[in-house]
Point group: C2
């Protein structure tokens, strides 16, 4: 619920809450709409698990965000809770690599992170949209300090190795000039009355005004070099102070050049709902979230527990696991109920006696391939030389993106760039097949085509290829529309005494919000089941 | 210089610096351009005042950013420096009001700020564009910590009292839907081959692709309700986790409604070069900048000094002033040279023996009218109820804007909104004519049309009308193009032993960068004059 207006003395939230309590959430959604509150969040507000579970126990598999959310809520509701976790830390993909950390990927290669104090890479999730209310609510509740994450910096680069002689272009130029040319073209046909059928005569007058304002068109509806366009795209020579300080206008990039460069294709990365301002990141690394959860439920977690079998019967669930620090002797944990957040890549390899529909669903979801490389540099040349403060540059090179740190702006000193971030496609697979050192070497080599300073300033790097991450074997659930239609509900249904949760059991795959909302929904339904006896 | 690429072993910056040293800056600018470094900043890098001023002294009038920049640089270059300042603090318009501060405006009304600890209003400058390199360089040098300032938050409101029944609209809806409709219209005429003369057939194919991508058009080039458009504008019901969590698409706002609402006119506020991401603000209040300067040059400042006369002759400059804490006895200060940063509104009322051209220039620049009102609320309802994290809402109501704090996100607790920010026009004059209490009362009343929570949550406010600010009598120099043509160079020329500086002597009026660049230019030229004997 995104609105809370005061309504006849009762706040709308209070009113809606009353309606919700008496008539259920479908009626509540209708009420919201009729009150003019257009939108509903995937997060329904703090979980209220009323009713006594009467000593029921729950075994949670996985201490990622989904597992810890479930643990937090269910212990509070009176359940006996234990968590089994494969890693020797909580958080799962909510994970930050800092100097001194070591990481061994599938294939046996071990990297030791050599970043300086205060530098880090978030190999997995790294940014939070403003509408991920569930996650934001837990950050608030658990005291996780947030700072803005810059997705769009108008001074970052769009780069194509096949356009503009390989010279990177400023985002603000491509963005402003494309909008300007489009406005000019539409204004021209509007003036020629070629729109008559679709827009009324009166509206055409306003449309012309709007295009002029929006596109920075001149009095003749032209998008041309001059002070006006420079006020939007920046100047050739910026205005200054004192004598000889008059600005010099820049020359817009021609429409054919923009079109053929295909750099316009990157603009969506700044416009999507998930990437719009204001985005956030936790101060100090994404794992501040996992650590905050672990402060609450860490006492419930058994680490280094590798699950090999999940077995349920009419009275409970028994899980067989191995203590990876003392291997050889299978151990068991039992509870009345089980919430399993193990990624489907791994769960599909574990013996579990669920019904055929859930089993088919577990096997139906491929996991995305993704590679991230963090590169530490001696100095923040992107800020000092290029005036790029945060944001993401996009390129057609295999590294796909370069993201600049969203913190410690303008202070100088060292910095870590996200020097490669691929998502599916051949480049992801190719990077995954390389040794970590080779991934880092190539990220530096490719990146230096955009930032030649790389070669002088590079110090050390670390690379995570998600298909080689032992605890997930992939980045995130990569649902197709067809698979979702056939399997999603079967994946989410409670099967006997077992329910699954995690980003893979959500409509927001790969986002932390998906893990949390999935968990809250699973917990709610399981609690109802428990109360129903 | 915004680029620094390594060029045959010599960095481009080094190369340009060599060219600059041997051949002067015009050649250097040409060289920059030919090397493909498209743009030049108004800031030329750290000032280098080589050559011995041989004990020359300079009297600086005004301890704002221009005056303190001059003091910092000239003392370092070997000058004897003193500053006279009207206020009992340094910073000038670089000013922050916090709980316990009192402020008396022209007309005699005194306000005491009653904000809680940690809350503040920046009555004057408040945000820093990423290309204001001069200011950023001083922030770095003086250790002023910066944080991102959110100008654009896609979840903030655009509001017209005459459209949508007065219901505020989300920025993301107006922005996305206008772009979508424009794309659809242009795609239609492109498909009908009505663009033939302006765009080649091949480019038309790419244009259609680009419009589809940019405008979120469907396979038939339509901008319609559905998952695709919702991925940009947001959903009616956001995606969630578990069962029943499928998203529900929202219905775009029709083009006629957007056009007639005229809300499109606000989109420029997020697109202008001066307002593009990434913007900054100092952590803790804008006056952290003035305070940082004052830590360096505070020992040179005589406070409470009200200048009444500036007199130069062949050997020096003598300034007559009154100590406002001990009025009645005129005092004098003398030096070889004078840098005067007093706002022209006030300087035009002071006796000064400069030539007719400078005198005419001093009298030629009106000052903008501006009013800001800060409002403290019991809770951050804009974050908690409306999911607005920073950014600016625009409205056609007299308050013009509501700006949400860009710090302490998602923490809860109290907050101060900028509840009114007018710039010129009848509303500025009207607010200026009111008592401070009335300004605050009206800001709450108008603002509650956008945020009904105002009425319940409001605690205390403070209002600054710049035409009533005793030390400036206006907000900033409001040059017309004609006035600039006739008077600007005359204003900036050294007149005998006097040179003026400040945002009014720049092409970036009303911005801190203008004050600093103006000062650096004045100091450079004055230094050359001194060395020339």
């Amino acid at each position: 619920m995104q609105h809370n207006q005061v309504f006849n003395g009762l706040s709308r939230r209070e009113l809606l809450s009353l309606i919700g309590i008496t008539a259920g959430s479908a009626v509540m959604y209708q009420a919201m709409t009729s009150l003019g509150l257009a939108e509903e969040s995937g997060y329904k507000g703090p979980l209220k698990l009323d009713g006594d579970p009467k000593g029921a126990s729950v075994l949670i598999l996985g201490a990622g965000l989904a597992g810890m959310t479930a643990a937090l809520e269910m212990r509070q509701a009176g359940y006996k809770v234990q968590i089994l976790e494969f890693n020797d830390r909580a958080g799962g993909r909510n994970w930050t690599l800092r100097g001194g950390d070591t990481y061994t990927e599938l294939g046996g290669e071990t990297q030791t992170c050599e970043f300086d104090e205060g530098m880090y890479l978030n190999p997995g999730p790294w940014r939070i949209p403003y509408h991920h209310n569930g996650l934001l609510a837990y950050c608030k509740r658990l005291g996780v300090a947030l700072e803005p994450f810059q997705q769009l910096n108008h001074n970052a680069f769009l780069h194509s190795s096949k356009a503009f002689g390989g010279k990177p272009q400023r985002v603000r130029h491509i963005k402003t000039d494309f909008r300007g040319h489009v406005s000019e073209l539409l204004a021209k046909v509007t003036q020629k009355s070629q729109l008559e059928s679709s827009v009324t005569k009166e509206d055409q007058e306003i449309l012309l005004e709007a295009l002029k304002s929006w596109g920075a068109l001149d009095a003749d509806y032209g998008y041309r070099a001059g002070h006006l366009t420079s006020e939007y795209r920046g100047f050739e020579k910026d205005p200054g102070g004192g004598l000889g300080a008059a600005p010099v206008a820049g020359e817009p990039i021609g429409l054919p050049d923009i079109l053929n460069s295909r750099l316009w294709g990157n603009l969506a990365n700044y416009a999507l709902y998930e990437f719009q301002t204001t985005m956030f990141q936790p101060v100090g690394g994404i794992d501040m979230i996992g650590k905050a959860f672990a402060r609450e439920v860490g006492d419930l977690i058994k680490y280094n527990a590798k699950v090999s079998k999940i077995e349920q019967n009419d009275t409970g669930v028994t899980v067989t696991y191995e203590d990876t620090k003392n291997p050889g002797t299978p151990q068991q944990a039992s509870a009345d109920w089980c919430i399993c957040t193990i990624p489907l890549t791994i769960l599909s390899q574990i013996e579990i006696n669920v019904g055929a529909p859930m089993q088919a669903a577990i096997e139906a979801v491929p996991y995305a391939s993704s590679v991230k490389v963090g590169l530490q540099f001696k100095r923040r040349f992107w800020e000092e030389d290029d005036l790029i403060f945060g944001g993401v540059s996009y390129t057609d090179l295999p590294i796909a993106q370069i993201s600049y740190p969203s913190t410690d702006f303008n202070k100088g000193g060292k910095g870590v760039l996200l020097g490669c971030y691929t998502w599916n496609g051949p480049n992801s697979y190719e990077f995954t097949s390389m040794s970590p050192a080779e991934r880092v070497r190539l990220a530096v080599e490719y990146g230096s085509q955009i930032h030649p300073q790389y070669k002088d300033e590079f110090e050390t790097g670390i690379a995570v290829a998600w298909h080689r991450v032992p605890f997930t074997l992939g980045c995130a659930g990569d649902w197709t529309e067809e698979a979702r239609k056939e399997h999603y509900d079967n994946l989410c249904q409670i099967d006997g005494r077992i329910v699954l949760a995690g980003e893979h059991a959500s409509y927001i795959p790969a986002w932390m919000e998906g893990a949390i909302l999935s968990s809250l929904d699973a917990v709610s339904r399981l609690h109802q089941r428990v109360l129903a006896g």
